[in-house]
Amino acid sequence: MKQITLLIVAAFLLAGCSATRVETEYKFGNKLAKRGLWKEAHYRWKRALRTGQNTAAIHNNIAISLEFQNKLEEAKKEYEEALKLSPGNEYIKRNLSRLKRRMNPGMEPDAEERKDLKRMKKKEMGKRK
């Protein structure tokens, strides 16, 4: 009996996982962004917004794509919108503070960002090897 229960639980967990793999506009946008296709990603996320997926994550990612296009004021608004939907999100807070630094002449990257940059460079070097 216990085994059957466990098997059912496992089946549910697996089903849950496969459901998250379903390609939504949002996730497709993320894939494009990772390949550097920011404008296309922006379009996908905007479509996701129109279909009612109004989440902090989408606003955050749209803001990054706007930053990529040098539309800094619009990006700021999107980060702020994301923070309204998820006020405690540390990642969005960091993104917004980095944008503010970018908009404020004379400010240097913070220690955390330097670490992130090093981490990314290492990762890229690893891929090349």
Partner: protein, 201 residues
């Protein structure tokens, strides 16, 4: 037997769930152009005020290398001539804001010594310590409007060379100064600096 089966199943479940769970963010790099790049087109003339150097070994003078960068390499980047600043000449001419941009600053060096094991001798079974130097250069640079006295750009750029050979001060400095000037050019020209953002999955 039942117990073993349950344990095996729970291990499988843990692995399956573990493989599905992912981190909430991806780090992404975005190229950014600095907002605060200098409007070089505004300035008609550029003058180099010799950089003050501090704490360099007495046997080595970095002045010629620094002067060469500002008077030969920098004009190529700016695509404008840079002359050596002559206060008397500039004082006699009637300058207006935007006529002359002064480029200057100061550069200081800090050398820290430390003992390390000589690798070559260690291979032969000998444990011999040798002194190496850690060179740290701090460069304060300004781009200043000659009339208003306002800095249109100022930065402190630091770089270090951790295993410098004390017998080759010229090489140590050239190596550091090259890194510093590259950073400087990227900063004030706003060339393809990278920033990191968190893309939420």
């Amino acid at each position: 037997m039942k117990k073993i089966n349950i344990i095996i199943l729970s291990v499988i479940i843990t692995f399956l769930v573990g493989s599905c769970s992912t981190r909430p963010v991806n780090l992404v790099r975005i190229p950014v152009k600095s907002v605060n790049t200098i409007n070089f087109l505004k300035y008609k003339n550029f003058a180099y005020v010799p950089i003050k150097v501090e704490k360099f070994p007495s046997e080595y003078d970095p002045g010629p290398s620094i002067d060469y960068f500002f008077l030969n390499d920098l004009p190529k980047t700016l695509k404008k001539p840079v002359s050596r600043y002559e206060p008397e000449k500039e004082a006699s001419s009637e300058l207006k804001e935007g006529d002359l941009l002064l480029i200057g600053g100061d550069l200081s060096l800090e050398i820290k010594e430390r003992n390390v094991i000589d690798d070559d001798k260690e291979k032969k079974g000998l444990k011999v310590f040798v002194k190496i130097e850690n060179w740290e250069v701090s460069f304060n640079v300004y781009f200043r409007d000659a009339v208003t006295g306002k800095d249109v750009f100022s930065r402190t750029i630091k770089d270090s060379y951790k295993s410098a050979d004390r017998n080759k001060p010229d090489y140590n400095f050239e190596f550091l100064f090259k890194n510093i000037t590259e950073k400087l050019i990227r900063l004030f020209m706003g060339l393809g600096r990278m920033e990191v953002r968190y893309l939420i999955k």
